[in-house]
């Protein structure tokens, strides 16, 4: 264990371990205070950032924050590290790495940044993000390219896709269908039509899979479906021959956190293999979808690493991306404001975390999206979500979550609305996924300028869509 010291304003600050240094260098958030690892003063935070800037990136290959022997996520990170991909930055410190990334971003050298992914570890990426400001996180993420596909192509430059989330408190087929149609009429759903089921039973999951598969089939929509059931439930659905496009899991950055979610890496591999066998893709073969969120390990009391020391929530979040990356995902998103004020207290913390998660995920090679969202006991409102959405659009975010009128009537939280997605596309000149955009045009849902038309329900294109929805 290396003790690191730095002197700032005549005062010497000591950091007992690498995880202590990472935690103290983290921009303020309530979850790190709750875990007892946050910086105790503003000066201590900057002192930690100064010390962290001097840590060689290569240190993260030999000094772990969560032990190799105790944790299968650490083993995954270490055992799959690609030294060749790492070579261009292998001699840099964390601070020099920030400068390197900003220089490549300014040169618009997407290839140089994007080809690092397999050479970077979550801890390296977390470390550099802690030295970056909002504009740094946006500028570098914008020049990091991750393109994936199944029946639509996601992550292309100048595109912003959305997950259409038609949740219903009782999984009522008519209610779910109404929300799907409303989303399609607003040009949403190109990333996935993804339902959180109200009950996690195989029968219910299969019924919802068949429902969405029928809608997609009837209109020949170039997108994919997902029912975000537990992976063991999806395995049952696969066995039953259900139309599974995507295997879903919530993942955490420690083995104990994943145990809390009731998943193992072997189960994920098995389910992915099952979905691949179905060969349901047309433009790609990526068949997994993961959700994450800062604080998930802490909330499961699964946030400790070497010597029982608590690890900060953002570093653990990045470690979850290593799990997702291993399974070649089509989609990954952080559910950034869902978990509550004890982890991210207000709009400032949620916006910062959303941008960090997006940047870190992309740098690690993930097709990163964000559920820009909040609960009612957090100090966040539509002004904050607008700010985060527009920043993410500028940062080249692959997709966001959208629900009818921002109100998820099943999970009881607020996410973006279909109109928010339209606004971001319009303001930032972004378009839907190409195959989906062509479909919108075929359905006569776009105007001459390529914008989603504001259609009255009695208009011919809306009537055509609604009429075909009747079973």
């Amino acid at each position: 264990m290396t003790i690191r010291r730095t002197t700032l304003g005549g005062h010497t600050h000591e950091f007992a371990s690498l995880s202590d240094l990472l935690a103290k260098a983290t921009p303020a958030r309530s979850g790190d205070v709750l875990a007892g690892v946050a910086a105790e003063s503003q000066a201590q935070r900057v002192a930690a950032q100064l010390a962290l800037a001097d840590v060689p990136l290569a240190t993260f290959l030999t000094e772990q924050v969560v032990g190799y022997d105790e944790d299968d996520v650490t083993r995954l990170i270490v055992d799959t590290h690609d030294p060749l991909a790492f070579a261009p930055v292998a001699g840099l410190t964390v601070g020099e790495f920030r400068d390197w990334l900003l220089a490549r971003a300014a040169e618009r050298d997407e290839a140089a940044i994007s080809s690092l992914a397999r050479g970077l570890t979550p801890e390296m990426v977390a470390a550099v993000s802690k030295l970056m400001r909002t504009a740094d996180l946006v500028a570098v993420a914008r020049r990091t390219r991750v393109v994936t596909g199944l029946r639509s192509t996601l992550g292309l430059p100048g595109r912003l896709a959305s997950r259409l989330q038609p949740n219903h408190p009782t999984d009522d087929p008519l209610g779910v269908t109404a929300s799907i149609l409303d989303g399609l009429l607003h040009g949403s759903g190109d990333a996935v039509i993804g339902i959180n089921p109200a009950t996690d039973s195989p029968a219910q999951t299969i019924a919802l899979l068949e429902l969405v598969d029928a809608v997609i089939g009837r209109y020949e929509i170039p997108t994919q479906s997902c029912v975000l059931a537990h992976v063991t439930t999806t395995l049952r659905a696969l066995e039953a021959g259900a139309p599974v496009d995507l295997v879903f899991a919530s993942v955490a950055g420690t083995q104990a956190g994943n145990r809390g979610f009731g998943i193992t890496l072997d189960q994920l591999a098995e389910a992915r293999a099952g979905a691949l066998e179905l060969r349901r893709g047309t433009v790609g073969r990526q068949v997994t979808y993961f959700e994450t969120g800062q604080g998930s390990a802490l909330s499961a009391d699964a946030h400790r690493g070497v010597d029982g020391r608590a690890v900060d929530q953002q570093t653990l979040e990045c470690r979850a991306y290593a799990v997702a990356r291993h399974f070649d995902p089509l989609l990954v998103n952080t559910v950034v404001g869902f978990i509550g004020p004890e982890y991210l207290y207000d709009g400032k913390q949620v916006v910062r975390a959303g941008l960090e998660d997006h940047f870190c995920g992309k740098l690690l090679g993930l097709p990163m999206g964000v559920d820009v969202c909040y609960t009612n006991h957090t100090d966040v409102d539509g002004d904050d979500t607008d700010a985060l959405l527009l920043l993410l659009g500028a940062a080249g975010c692959g997709f966001v979550i959208a629900v009818p009128g921002s109100d998820d009537v099943m999970l009881h939280y607020q996410s973006l609305s279909f109109t928010d997605v339209l606004t971001a596309r319009s303001v930032l000149d972004l378009r839907p996924a190409p195959e989906f955009e062509a479909w919108l045009a075929r359905m006569d849902l776009l105007d001459d300028a390529g914008r989603v038309r504001d259609l009255a329900p009695e208009s011919a294109p809306a009537r055509a869509l609604l009429a075909a929805a009747r079973p």
């Binding site: 779910v176 009128g405 009537v409 607020q414």
Partner: protein, 238 residues
């Protein structure tokens, strides 16, 4: 046609790429009600008065958790589960203790706690019930030290649930057998969404709770062993 099919906010119309003003303000009003519900202070006198009106004759005691204010409470769930230092409660020997905790919606306690308590007590003739405890800045697990200090075999915490956009006053009931600090969420049973006339009514909630209480007393346990009759605790509710 879409609007008749779901409670979701579908077919809202558009103003350019945004929402029409009326729809935007409707949403803000719902959000404002939910946020105000979180930040309303628990009025213990109002709860006492409501209990009296409902015919509850038990003594009423007032406690605070270790979270000194709302801001701390929201960020430190651990403090909301512990009693403020120096809290004293009269030790006794009771079958049941009832704790009314503000949780995330004091409004729910103001509006629905007294009615629920009265309906429960009506159905428990012969049970020895401890004084009712009104708890400020309390989470579900605050019932553990309260129930233990009172000497109660079972504690039921009536707590304000996290407000949704259309439900700012929902009360949750959490039953724990053998309350003591350190009980896991899996050792509790929960009845959610007590909120007449839109949610569960008092009589209906009390019927379910009393059935759980009797089963719990007989088994000498609570939580997953009673799962078939109650509903499982939602994640993060503790």
């Amino acid at each position: 046609m879409l609007r008749g099919a779901t409670r979701a906010r579908v077919a809202l119309g558009r103003a350019g790429d945004g929402l029409p003003t009326t729809r935007e303000l409707e949403f803000r009003a719902a959000h404002a009600a939910a946020r105000d519900a979180v930040h309303t202070a628990l009025d213990a006198d109002r709860v006492r008065a409501a209990l009296t009106v409902a015919g509850v004759g038990l003594d009423v005691l007032e406690v605070h958790s270790a979270a000194p204010d709302r801001t701390t409470y929201l960020q430190r769930p651990d403090l909301g589960r512990r009693l403020a230092p120096g809290t004293e409660l009269p030790a006794g020997e009771h079958d049941l203790a009832l704790v009314l905790a503000d949780g995330l919606s004091p409004r729910a306690v103001h509006e629905h706690a007294a009615g629920t308590v009265a309906a429960v007590l009506e159905r428990l003739p012969g049970w020895s019930v401890a004084p009712v405890v009104v708890a400020h800045q309390g989470r579900v697990a605050l019932g553990d030290p309260v129930g233990q200090a009172l000497g109660a075999a079972i504690v039921v915490v009536l707590v304000g649930e996290r407000p949704g956009l259309s439900s700012a006053d929902s009360l949750g009931l959490y039953l724990t057998h053998g309350p003591r600090p350190g009980r896991a969420d899996s050792e509790r049973n929960c009845i959610s969404n007590v909120r007449p006339p839109h949610g569960l009514g008092y009589a209906q909630a009390a019927d379910t709770l009393v059935a759980l209480l009797q089963a719990s007393r007989q088994l000498g346990a609570s939580g997953v062993v009673l799962k078939d009759e109650g509903t499982a605790l939602p994640p993060g509710a503790g």
